[in-house]
Symmetry: D2
Subunit: 380 residues, 4 copies
Amino acid sequence: MTALNIGLIGCGFMGRAHTNAYKRVPDFFPELGRRPVLQAVCARSEADVRRFAGQWGYASFETDWHKLVARRDIDAVDVCVPNNLHREIALAVAQAGKMVLCEKPLAMNAAQGAEMAEAVEKAGVANMVWFNYRRVPAVTLAKHIIDDGRLGRIYHYRSSFLQDWTISADVPQGGHATWRLDVAAAGSGVTGDLLAHCIDTAIWLNGDLRDVSAMTETFVTERVHAETGAKQPVGIDDACAFMCHFANGSLGLFESTRYARGHKAAYTLEINGAEASIRWDLHDLHRLEYFDHRDRAEVRGWRSVHVTDNGGEHPYMDKWWAPDLQNGYEHSFVHQVADFLAALEEGHACSPTFRDALKTQVACDAILASAERRRWVEIG
Amino acid sequence: MTALNIGLIGCGFMGRAHTNAYKRVPDFFPELGRRPVLQAVCARSEADVRRFAGQWGYASFETDWHKLVARRDIDAVDVCVPNNLHREIALAVAQAGKMVLCEKPLAMNAAQGAEMAEAVEKAGVANMVWFNYRRVPAVTLAKHIIDDGRLGRIYHYRSSFLQDWTISADVPQGGHATWRLDVAAAGSGVTGDLLAHCIDTAIWLNGDLRDVSAMTETFVTERVHAETGAKQPVGIDDACAFMCHFANGSLGLFESTRYARGHKAAYTLEINGAEASIRWDLHDLHRLEYFDHRDRAEVRGWRSVHVTDNGGEHPYMDKWWAPDLQNGYEHSFVHQVADFLAALEEGHACSPTFRDALKTQVACDAILASAERRRWVEIG
Amino acid sequence: MTALNIGLIGCGFMGRAHTNAYKRVPDFFPELGRRPVLQAVCARSEADVRRFAGQWGYASFETDWHKLVARRDIDAVDVCVPNNLHREIALAVAQAGKMVLCEKPLAMNAAQGAEMAEAVEKAGVANMVWFNYRRVPAVTLAKHIIDDGRLGRIYHYRSSFLQDWTISADVPQGGHATWRLDVAAAGSGVTGDLLAHCIDTAIWLNGDLRDVSAMTETFVTERVHAETGAKQPVGIDDACAFMCHFANGSLGLFESTRYARGHKAAYTLEINGAEASIRWDLHDLHRLEYFDHRDRAEVRGWRSVHVTDNGGEHPYMDKWWAPDLQNGYEHSFVHQVADFLAALEEGHACSPTFRDALKTQVACDAILASAERRRWVEIG
Amino acid sequence: MTALNIGLIGCGFMGRAHTNAYKRVPDFFPELGRRPVLQAVCARSEADVRRFAGQWGYASFETDWHKLVARRDIDAVDVCVPNNLHREIALAVAQAGKMVLCEKPLAMNAAQGAEMAEAVEKAGVANMVWFNYRRVPAVTLAKHIIDDGRLGRIYHYRSSFLQDWTISADVPQGGHATWRLDVAAAGSGVTGDLLAHCIDTAIWLNGDLRDVSAMTETFVTERVHAETGAKQPVGIDDACAFMCHFANGSLGLFESTRYARGHKAAYTLEINGAEASIRWDLHDLHRLEYFDHRDRAEVRGWRSVHVTDNGGEHPYMDKWWAPDLQNGYEHSFVHQVADFLAALEEGHACSPTFRDALKTQVACDAILASAERRRWVEIG
């Protein structure tokens, strides 16, 4: 088995999630020809990065990402830093001729995203964006069902991502833990952070968006900055909802917020076709709800499919435990790494590439523009 | 449309439920040839019975049930009094050559029940026992599915009826509202009151019981009598569980209690066959859970069938509103009256007859005997 | 008890639902001083109306609604005809000085609605619109919880009403059974039929709407007319979604369609406050989901409240059966009649009045205008 | 960090689950002073064990367990072989003065179990049995709630473990994959395999059992042996149910089967106390249902607690991802290893020890004896 030397930049929540995936993939996907090796991790704080490297088993660490990118023993760079740094690092990695795996959203905006997509394509390096929810087995199963044409003509797609962690006005913005509230670091609020997930899945399952009409709201307009302690205006969107048309003629309805009390990570989606419908909810990510109008009428109803194998029919699940034994959040990252490695071997791109993720970025820009101007905005 | 003159004895909770059913059946089952007429109601307290007759529209009332039974303008007598009075009244009604509809359980014990069944059969009068849950559309649908052979060989039947209303030691026994806690009036506790429902449905769906092993418990051993105020030993079973074998070779497991905090009327059942399984819960009585192993594996799962029509395939529901609009508890009684009237027209018995209900009584006797002796008891 | 003589115009689905409510209310609300009497029913087809009167027990019938309105033995006229007839009849009833109960939506548009509201107010007659879902006990309970201030500041309101009965292009438009697909009779499609319910409840629970941005779609653009057999363009909206701001600063998101496979009457709502949230789903109308952030963290979670009494704390439920025994769809109408009668006695209006319902009509007009013009529309 | 050198015997399903736990614990519990090291794995087939060691990263392998036990570089032996080998290996490990971690059930019967418990105690070696479900966070939370006295006096405990994988008579017995159907290897059927889990949790949560009355059934009485191809009588119990009394006066009801169509790993439990009740279901292992009678009546209901942190109040979950992001089956093993390591450091035993697990073994013996003799059997 060949090594794929990983250099990770950023050791926050996502740094942990990706690292865990790199470590686990050989145990559960032993047939793969390449094995990720934790070669180096980089963060600005030496204390932090030293501790992280020790805990997770990275062979070395850096405090300057330029050095990590320049190292000859690194094959692939994983970008797990705030959004405002994605572009610069990704361009440097591409220029260095290395593979790049970038945390979502791809960039601060579509212009940056386009530049990044062009850069990796020009450099001819493998690239991928961490829209991990595609690889939740129930979501992958939804993709299979749709691609098999079992839903018939699609009429509706609806999706939401609800949280409640910023309701308190005492939550600060900026800094390590709360950079997602700082528009300078994040680019936007729930749109880039949460709706981007909904949109990526939606495009994957239901095709391109044609136009959008959005509204955003900032409920708490001033917050203390976590590092400076200064009270500053809040620049992000606390909530965002939008309507859209898909290219296939179906209607879309999306919503995201951090002010939905009772929800911490309520990512849900539903798709209605002429023949069948599908629903999914991250809170019980191992289940897929499925309704098929062709069932015998007497016992027709929504099915709760426990996506834990069903005789080997469920994506990825044969790699794990036994039927009915559920997996969790982290496994989506393991699956994404496995697919990336398999794609490397087979010599094709692993979706979502930068180019794929750019579509979501374009949609996010359109959404924010629509909300600002209070009018419909065409896409593409 | 011909009148069926009803004489109701007892105006408690069940008196209300049955009266409501008599009044509603012509509106929703207009095709029936006979229409119940509220001719007379009887209770010992004149004040109570007068008020009840006025509220519900009974044409007259009595305070002595012998008089009601003797009246020539009564076709059918509905016995809604505590269990210790069932036998005497039912025998008198049969002797008077009138139809008799008896609240469950049929009697205080199997000996009484046998006497009653023989009496109505000898008199040749129509008779029925109010095991109303058979006519919840989801339960009737379960019967259809089973009779169609869709479950395959049956392995397991489990059922429970859980309540929590007697946890407080301050609840009295005896009297109007709490006669169910008085063994002299009720004959037994949860066995006759709640398990009788579970057993009636079980026999209907899965056939006869062969043997039982039971345990009972009385958690609160003394209670004040509601009328006398005297503290007295409690004679009923507060909780009862039993295992059994069915004649078809399947295993049964049953439980009932009034000490299950969080449950008020949690009647549930599940039946597992080689090919398919069924579950039902009174808390959402308009739903039937159904699992069919023959479904395509990828999307196989428990279905939640909203038993509210599905293109006319759901029992009784075409009589009511529109698809997906749910009915409630009371409708089971309306359906039972409608079936009784239809059976009268068609000249056959309406199940469960006294003879049918006797089986449940025999099972209850065996359960109580088993619990007392701590050993298995054969049935029949 | 005084009689309230009812004259019903229209004997379709809603005619049945209202009639059932009139008949049942005295049984379950015996304390009310007035009792509805089924004095007359009116429909154009003599065969139909004669049959309906016979089945349900109306004392007489008419085939010309002008005659019914003119009859001196009628106190209150119930308007259960297609939307395009509401205005004319309601104005005539008001002019005749009679009470008027009008099926929802109030009118074809806001102009008609305003005229009707003014007419009943000028005439000083009691008036009400049948937005029955306010009186589902779980929804009424939601209102109590909100009015008690338990949710805190409201951030989000979302609601949808999903059906699937018009997916087939073979469903005709117009005529008795499918007038809701005929724009000439219905005024609009899902907006007036389904979203009107969502909006009425929303205004009741969360206050006025400030502006809307909507999209509509007509998926099947031609249908055969049920009576003429001619293929005609479809004029209604098959689906409609809209975003809005409420006057209290919260964001709203609404959707309705008849193309959501797997849903027959999926009316849902959710409201998120700073302290607590509420969810409700018509499919299990006897449950209210409730989340309270003030609960002890260890066991904090969404509660499924079985709105069937809880010690007398649940609206209306003490009138019916016993704890945990669920009611159904029809009971919402019974409750509305009971409240109407109680309001009569107490000498105040019974909400929603024509004036109340006009707000929903105004919102519907704004929604349709917004969808047509593809821009935000302010509301009065 | 000190190494704890692990020697694993057996590389089947449980060998994988334990190995995964050893590997992951340092990543997520970095504060622990000892780190498991995969020193050696043992299995009879050299091909199998070589492959397993390579995939999972064991430093070496053996094909004779005596050699592994004798190796000086092994600190702890993990026994993951069929039940009939537990005793001999465990005794040898104890005699070698090494720690022993034994897969459940502890032994073939209570006599063996007692011998094993005495051996490890006499040797003074750390010991533990892999009843992993205690460390599912929702189950651990249940333990906390109970120990805090929040349920009040306990009345009922019910638990079941339902599967459906042996319904087909074509499933063989014996051999690698199906030794659980071979009474010579397994000792019993569902009793030792599945009910043992239910009983271990029950004793942990609710205390000792006092007596049992059980029934067992073997639905398929002959099966082909996987290795010999010979048709042989089936010696195991396919299904087992039992009633019991707990020492605290509460009633227990348990069931297990491999013939419940629609269930693959349906381990459920419910406990009813005077004040509150708890339910859990392995199918959604990250949720705990909780009902508290002390809640305000209006909004009292069963809560679905998503056991994924709630502000740090949920056991183990602060070690993993973020609120609302669910874990899966395998994490229970990681938690058990972490607790074992922590107990080593703190110098106390890690429950369930062999002595703890012996109680479950005694109960299983009593259950099988009760079923055979068809009578109640006292425990201890």
